[in-house]
Structures are given as structure tokens and as C-alpha cells.
Symmetry: C2
Subunit: 309 residues, 2 copies
Amino acid sequence: MINILFAARPERWTAYEQPLRDALQAAGITAHLAEEITPAEVDYIIYAPNSDLQDFTPYTRAKAVLNLWAGVERITDNKTLRIPLARMVDPGLTKGMVEWVTGHVLRYHLGMDAHIVNPAHEWHVTTPPLAHERNVVILGLGALGTACADALLGLGFRVTGWSRSPKNVKGVDCLHGDAGLSQALNRGEIVVTLLPDTPATTDIINAQTLAQMPRGAFLINPGRGPLIDDDALIAALDNGQLAHATLDVFRTEPLPQTDPYWAHPRVTVTPHIAAATRDKTASEQLVENIRRGEAGEPFINLVDRKLGY
Amino acid sequence: MINILFAARPERWTAYEQPLRDALQAAGITAHLAEEITPAEVDYIIYAPNSDLQDFTPYTRAKAVLNLWAGVERITDNKTLRIPLARMVDPGLTKGMVEWVTGHVLRYHLGMDAHIVNPAHEWHVTTPPLAHERNVVILGLGALGTACADALLGLGFRVTGWSRSPKNVKGVDCLHGDAGLSQALNRGEIVVTLLPDTPATTDIINAQTLAQMPRGAFLINPGRGPLIDDDALIAALDNGQLAHATLDVFRTEPLPQTDPYWAHPRVTVTPHIAAATRDKTASEQLVENIRRGEAGEPFINLVDRKLGY
């Protein structure tokens, strides 16, 4: 019998208890799963970074912290955490992200908004370029960026990917480093930001990088709020350097009613929905790592805390 | 030297002359291509159904009429046409259609409009189903319907296809005939109409078939205007049976300013852009049939005028 602590907000427990029990049973694992367990007896911690649990010192027997979120920036600095940390790589979350990104890329590619909101009832025929004539740039080639690139390639788009260190993704023109970033942004008719939130990526979309995009570019941010220097983005939208932005994540969420993004005519706000974790598939991932821990196999989706992701 | 008559509106000649000359040269065909040629000396007629040419009787030597449009309903009844008629199956047109349909399916799937137009600035988190939990139904499994089905399958959607006669498309649940139509519509959370306009398909979307869709369904019509009984559609939108419709084609185009579709809060009008022919790829298709005619090979994309498509 192993002890699995569920350390997250109560509403998460409501959502996850049954899918987790189902996944444990399907994996043939007998476990005590609860919201409260004596720390020294806990074997695994299923964890959300906004949990009350912030001091991992008493969890002397625990083999791993299994994050419920894809984002780990609120836990990587925790000095009391000395055991392996796995991020959530939920296939359901990835699928949802791919659908959201592909949908909004096509929305900009096709110029849909001019038809969805057309108060003058204008019958104005324009033929957009075909996908194979359109450059989409994805900043960040992790699991999510790569999955989005694959879907966009499948639809025929020209996809350029950028990452801090060199990567190789089939069909994607992969660039890296500072010089590669300028080169990528230069061709970014539609730019999608899917980078993790680290000191190196904070404000990566700023006045200088916005100016490197072609005039009239579109920005889609389903990644992290702090990737964007908000004042610089609004300035670029106001002066027409950017045509429009769709933002799913923000420095403060929910986005305050006073935030200028809400009323900006060139901004679409979506309420942090691009990367929704799906209970069932996420539970299967969490249990897979517990199975691996018990079988002495290496954990999957481990976080390198020095790099911060 | 062969004589190719270009019989379409003058603006088409402006767009097509150079791409056609390029395609002829690339195919190694020496030809006289012009808007006026003595009828008895014409070998091939590149044709738009709204051309002044309506009597084919004097074109005694012509081997084929090569339609510039995908739609042939305005020419299939022409009794003076006794030579092979080929429809336009432009790979560029097909790609554009796939992009337009995929974009609007994703738009409905993701509930984008609630974010694009959100005057109350509501941060309202809802998680849409994943594509593999969403039923998309395509009425019509010709070249366009099949290509759209492929793209939607690639994104993970459950795709049902319906056609008058039995068809088999990989990955698509193919239904046919009257019973199959009811069955298909029953599961149609998002219905895409890509049928040809024939006597059998006129008003196929009517009060009865609209009632067979699940309540709150979405309709996307990039096919033909007469597929829809407009009064029945507006009634279904008014009473909530349908949640929203995106219409690209209409009985009268441009859609008159007095048409109720323009101001309807549950309708998006797009100006017949889903199936735009692309000059370059279309010219290559036209020249391929001329090459085949000269080589004695069978023409591609021939129309069966008895069936009307």
C-alpha cells in the first residue's frame, strides 16, 4: 500500500478524485489517496503550485512531486524541494492547445474577424494567401510548440520554430539563440508564443522584438503572461506595427476589468483556456509516474530545476 | 498549332492570360490563345458559364469545354454542348476550401465568437470538448468534401460524411441515401454542406432536415446557395434549434443589403470566398487537359451531364 497525497485546492480534489482512483485501478496500483496524510508517510505528492503545501521538508519518504500543471515556475525556486519534480504533460491538454492555436492561426490567416463583425454589411471579396504562402512562427519548441507545429504543417503552413538552444523538428525551420530570434521574428506574419516563463524569457516580446516582426503581424500568446511587455505590445498595436493580438494568459488573472487589453479594438482576450488540463488524461499521466516509481523505472517529464523547466 | 478560345468575362482574361501562357510553355504546348477565334477553328474552349458564349453549335472542331469554375450547374443543361465538359478541380481552390472550412469548424468548436465579441469583458472559463469528442458532418463527399474530411480527421475530429450514393472515405463514417441523411444530421453538432447544386439537392437544408440536427447545432455552407431553404434556416436560428450559421454562398450574390442574413445576430456572411480559384494552379489544370487531349489520353474531371456534376 502506497500513500498518495493530493495537495491542491479543494475544487481540484472534487474534479480529480474519481479519475485518479479509476487510473490507479486500471494500472493495478493499490494506494491510499487522500488530501491529508502524515507527511513522513507520504510516497508521492500530486501537487498544484497554489497549494498550501510550500515546505516539503517533512516529506522525508516521498519519491516525487507530480505537478498538476504544465507550468512549474512557482515551484522550481522552492529550496525545500529536493526530490524529483515532474511537470504535467497531459495529452488532453496538448490536444486542446493544438486546437486552440490552430483555430486562432486560421482565424488570422483567413481574416475571419472582418466577417464575424461586419456592421456595414460589406460584401468585400479578398482572397487570402494559401497556407503554404503564409509564415507562422512558433517561439518555443517544447511538447506544446512541437505539437502545434505538426498540426500547422499538416494544414500546409510554412512553420518556423525558435528555441533558446538548438532543436530539430521535422518539417519546421528551426532557429535558435539571439540571432535566430531576430531571423524568426522577421518572417513572423503570425507569431505564437509557447515559451516557458523563465528569467530568460520574461518580456521576450518587447519594443525591440515587436519591431522585428513584419508590419501588420498577428500575435497569439497561449504561453505565459510575463512573456509580454504589455506596454510595448499596446504601443505596437496602437501604431499599427501589429494588426491584432489574441492573449490567453496574463500577469494578473482573471484579467482586471481596468486592464487596457479588454477594451482594445485590436486585442482578443481569452480566459486562460488554451491549456486546460483534462481530468481523465491527466490522471493517467500522474498514475503512470507512480507506476514507474514503484517499478524502479525512470520518471517521465522531469523538470530540470536549474533551467527552470 | 492549336487554337484555344478563352470565353469568360474580360477581368478573367486579365487574371488568366499570363498564368495560362506560362502553363502552356511549361507543358511544351504551342498554341494560339485568345478571346476571339473563328468558331470552326477552335480546338479547346476555356469557359466560364457567365460568358456570352452560350451556343456551342458553331464550334465544330472543339475537343472539350474546360470549365473555369468548380460549379457546372449553369452549363449542364445546355443542349448545344455535345463535347466533353471538364469541371475545374483546382488544387489551390481545394486547399483554400479546406482552410476556410477547417477554420470555421474550429471557430465553432472553440466558441471563439464569445471572445472576439465580448463587450461586457467577461472572464468566463469554459472548457470545450476535444476534437475527438466532437461530431462534424460533411454533406457531400466529392473532391472538396473529401479533402475537408481529411483535414478535420487530421485534427482529431469525428467525421461523418454523407453522399447520395454510397462512398468509402478512409477514416470517415460514410452514410448515404435518405435514411443515411437523417442518421448523419442526428449527430451533426457542426454540419458542413459541400453538395453540388442539382435538382436533388435543392433545399436539402429545410425545416425537416434542420429539425434532425441536435439542438444548438452549427451550420457552415461553403457549397451552393440553393442547398438551403433560407426561410427555414432563419426560423431554426430564431427558435434556437441552430446556434449559428456561417454562409459563403447565396441564391443572389452579392447578397442584397435587404437580405435578413446580414443583420441576423446568429449568422456570419462571407462573400463567396471559400472556393476561390487560384490563377496559377487552375491554369496548370486547364493545360493538363489540353495536353491530354493532344496526346489522346482521357480527360480528367469530366462532368456527367445526366447527373449534373
